[in-house]
């Protein structure tokens, strides 16, 4: 596997401008002869499909939901970062670049991260033009707040529904292109395989989830924008349908998979209350602007929170990280919470939570201000838990959230399969080993609106002589047959355990051994356990019905089958990285104060995994990270 990042020459600040000024272009007349498939309609997919269609390409777009507007970007709450420096607090593209690189524990490419920061300001302009109703000051100008891991206010927000509003903006742009006939929309369709012809991505096999029909779609290039795979842990903040199948199946066709184990565990989610639980709802990080996190100083203290006096509370983030306090980055806040909970200081009926307390903020700013800032989040909290957070502190707990890992892409966002691009959360590019809050909406949008439209043109300029891609090619026959065979196999087992049952077991195993804390022994054990579970799955799975009908159990089974393979690569990824960085915390590698111990000498690279065959160990490749502008330092928030 050749890993050429294709980073343009020149100073950091000029790389993207130089690329744009010199990349190959496709003329307007030729664009309409080129077909593009975009899989996924979240912020990355919708913004890409709309932008590419506006430029004149012929676009087909796919989502498993019943409408593009429902993709899980919709659930992002707190905000989107941009270095506008409207607050006059010293922000700049360079500062944002540095914060993001440091936030990711110096495990991302300088050039990509700088480009993300550089394009951030444009995104706010774009969204406002689409009618996104961001929060505004009384003078009519845009408002900002702070997110974790930074000391400026660069987060733009629309109450606690920023993802929804940005997605509806992208969806409206997409809808306009559908109406104009430039985009064909396939909702309730799931991509089940990638078709590769002569080494290039040329189409997909998809299943119509309303009819069960298997369809072939051919194109000159395929863009995956299928989001993260945090749902592999079963209990997560993701939607029930979020899955890793599109990228996993592309991986099996040759796309390198990078940093598979770098998964963000979000510190502020609602704790689990029982075995029936299907998801853990996120409470926005923005709450940490005004909320203070604490546990009782005495383990097992059963008093109601209001009766525990100030001096008997441990505001552990403020104690351990005085410079950033409650706005310490997510990986650090999650580890600190887990440390307190594991040490017996957890609160709530299952002792698996910590308090997030607004009493001080309500006293300082008044209840009306707090209601305006977070009203919908407090309401959501009450709906789910039955408790009023204006009167007593919220109880929160860490939960699986975002995948920093994903398909390896070069500077042009192309995977190791020529013609296959990966954008948004499904790629590994900008966040390193830990993503900062409000950077995921940003990356999805910047990839889709501003980067891919240039880089895909550079690839397609070489495809003008190719002509129409035929879905009758033998490669399509083979891919379709493989999909049909797998569906038949899943249905034929007729054992005794449901797909959900396997998913729950895998999730619990993975969270325990490859979650917030990892050890060599634990990961080795996990690999054995996953293999055994996967073998049992193929012996004992039970899927009712047939493939020729609506069958959500069959959909789930296919996704769990892929998770059972991906989980093993995650464990290899974590096992072979003998250092701690960002969200990857190996207990063997920590400082005397219990902080992550990076080992730059040995591990200043991104692990990229190659598929070697069924039941074979994956093959490790390395992309070395070169820092020319800044020097990696100890990542401290103290």
């Amino acid at each position: 596997m050749k890993l050429d990042a294709k980073i343009p020459e020149g100073p950091l600040q000029e790389k993207w401008s130089r690329y744009k000024a010199t990349c190959r272009l496709v003329s307007p007349n030729n664009k309409k002869k080129l077909d593009i498939i975009v899989v996924g309609t979240g912020l990355a997919g919708s913004s890409a499909a709309a932008s590419l269609a506006e430029m004149g390409y012929r676009v087909k777009t796919f989502c498993f939901q019943d409408s593009p507007r429902r993709a899980h970007s919709v659930a992002a709450q707190g905000g989107v970062n941009a270095s506008k420096n409207y607050q006059n607090d010293g922000d700049s593209a360079f500062r944002m670049f540095y914060d993001t690189l440091k936030g990711g524990d110096f495990r991302a490419r300088e050039a990509n991260v700088y480009r993300l920061a550089e394009c951030s300001a444009n995104l706010i302009d774009q969204a406002v033009a689409q009618g996104v109703p961001f929060a505004r000051e009384y003078g009519g100008y845009l408002a900002n707040r702070s997110f974790g891991g930074v000391q400026v206010s660069r987060t733009f927000y629309a109450r606690g529904q920023t993802g929804q509003q940005l997605l509806l903006g992208a969806y409206s742009a997409l809808s306009r292109q559908v109406a104009e006939g430039n985009v064909q929309l396939f909702a309730r369709h799931e991509m089940l395989d990638l078709v590769v012809i002569d080494g290039k991505a040329r189409g997909i096999i998809a299943r119509n989830l309303d009819t069960g029909e298997i369809e072939r779609h051919a194109a000159h290039t395929v863009v995956l924008a299928t989001g993260g795979y945090g749902k592999i842990y079963y209990l997560s903040t993701l939607a029930m349908g979020c899955n890793g199948s599109a990228i996993w199946r592309a991986h099996k066709k040759g796309a390198g998979f990078a940093a598979a184990s770098w998964t963000q565990i979000h510190p502020t989610c609602l704790p689990q209350s029982g075995a029936y639980q299907s998801k853990l709802t996120l409470m926005s990080e923005s709450l940490r602007n005004d909320g203070r996190i604490w546990v009782p100083k005495k383990a097992g203290d059963d008093r109601p929170p209001g009766e525990i006096p100030e001096e008997e509370r441990d505001y552990y983030l403020e104690r351990r990280y005085p410079a950033f306090g409650n706005l310490a980055p997510r990986d650090i806040a999650s580890r600190a919470a887990k440390e307190r909970i594991d040490a017996g200081f957890g609160v709530g009926p299952q002792r698996n939570a910590v308090y997030l307390d607004f009493a001080h903020a309500i006293e300082e700013y008044g209840i009306d201000t707090i209601r305006e800032r977070y009203g919908n989040l407090f309401r959501m909290y009450e709906k789910i838990t039955g408790h009023n957070a204006y009167k007593r502190p919220m109880m929160i707990s860490p939960a699986a959230h975002f995948s920093m890992g994903g398909l390896w892409v070069d500077y042009e966002l192309m995977t190791t399969i020529p013609g296959l691009f990966a954008i948004g959360e499904c790629n590994f590019s900008d966040h390193g080993a830990n993503r900062l809050g409000a950077n995921s909406l940003l990356q999805a949008c910047v990839d889709g609106y501003f980067i891919l439209p240039y880089t895909i043109g550079s690839y397609l300029a070489g495809e003008l002589g190719t002509g129409k891609i035929s879905p009758e090619a033998p490669e399509f026959d083979a891919a379709e047959q493989a999909v049909r065979d797998q569906l038949a196999r899943l249905l034929s087992i007729q054992g005794s355990r449901t797909a959900t049952d396997y998913h729950k077991e895998l999730g619990a195993l993975l969270y325990d051994k490859c979650g917030v804390l990892r050890t060599r022994e634990g990961l080795q054990q996990a690999i054995d356990d996953i293999r055994a579970l996967r073998a049992d799955f193929w012996q004992n799975l039970k899927v009712p019905g047939s493939a020729a009908q609506v069958n959500s159990e069959l959909e789930k089974a296919g996704r769990v089958a892929d998770y059972l393979e991906l989980a093993e690569v995650m464990c290899y990824d974590a096992l072979t990285r003998e250092e701690s960085c960002g969200a990857h915390f190996r207990e063997e590698y920590q400082t005397a104060e219990g902080e992550a111990q990076r080992r730059d000498g040995e591990f200043q690279f991104v692990s990229v995994w190659g598929y070697t065959g069924p039941e074979e160990e994956p093959e490790l490749h390395r992309e070395g990270l070169v820092f020319q502008t800044i020097q990696p330092s100890v990542r401290s928030y103290k």
Binding site: Q65, S67, D125, Q126, G131, A158, D210, T281, K383
Partner: protein, 248 residues
């Protein structure tokens, strides 16, 4: 808790549907309504039956994909709550619960409780956007928008497209859904140039899809999980009439 369920089962769009009885014991009051259906489905699969198909995804009240008619009310008994955020603690031990799909001619049943709401997408495609393109946006702060206007536009933009307004309306009108988008964009300076024509095109599409007319009963705003006000329908009507005047 012990729960009796009467659930709408329908094999496909053309089949005749019917209510089928199920019984569940040991339901935890902290479960969500959809988790209760998950428990039912796991039992049905083990028994060799087909599980009940229902729409859902985010399970945190924002994607708009879930939507069940529960005991005769869209999204069930709690105000401002989607089906996925309804919890069993709002029911009593021994209750009988009726579960049906959102019903409307424009929302055909696909299977059981799963319906086709693509008519909503086509209403948005008819004009629910500002005609801007990637790259042509001016500096965001060049055009101030008052705090109250931005907040009011947000109130309308908060629509999740679930269809509860249609399901609860005796006319199966999509006026609240359409009005919310017309109003959101009409309130913002960026959306003004197309406001009247947008309203005309979206209302036309709403009629073409087979949704009924609005007779201002206000049932939609009572059931809307985002508490969107029927004032937005008034604003849609205003823009629609303005379109009529402007065309003459």
């Amino acid at each position: 808790m012990r729960i009796q369920l009467k659930i709408w089962r329908q094999e496909n769009a053309r089949a005749q549907g019917r209510m089928v009885d199920y019984e569940l014991a040991d339901i935890n009051p902290e479960m969500s309504f959809l988790e209760m259906l998950d428990v039912l489905n796991e039992q049905l699969i083990q028994r060799g039956d087909m599980p009940v198909e229902f729409d859902h995804d985010c399970r945190e009240g924002i994607c708009g994909q879930c939507g069940l008619f529960i005991n005769g009310r869209a999204h069930g008994p709690q105000a401002a709550t989607t089906t996925c955020q309804l919890h069993m603690r709002h029911f009593r031990d021994g209750d009988t619960i009726y579960v049906e799909p959102f019903r409307s001619r424009a929302f055909p049943v696909i299977k059981d409780l799963r319906i086709d709401r693509s008519a909503f997408d086509r209403i948005i495609q008819a004009g629910g956007y500002i005609s801007t393109r990637t790259g042509d946006a001016p500096e965001a702060n060049a055009l101030p928008i008052g705090h109250k206007v931005a907040e009011a536009a947000f109130d309308a933009a908060a629509c999740i497209g679930c269809g509860a307004c249609v399901a609860t309306c005796k006319n199966a009108s999509a006026a609240l859904f359409t009005g919310a988008k017309v109003s959101h964009l009409a309130m913002l300076p960026q959306g003004r140039p197309e406001a009247a024509e947008r309203a005309r095109k979206m209302v036309q599409q709403m009629e073409d899809e087979g949704f009924g007319h609005c007779t201002n009963t206000g049932a939609c705003e009572v059931e809307c999980p985002q508490e969107i006000s029927i004032r937005h329908i008034a604003r849609m009507n205003f823009e629609y009439n303005r379109a009529g005047v402007l065309r003459k």
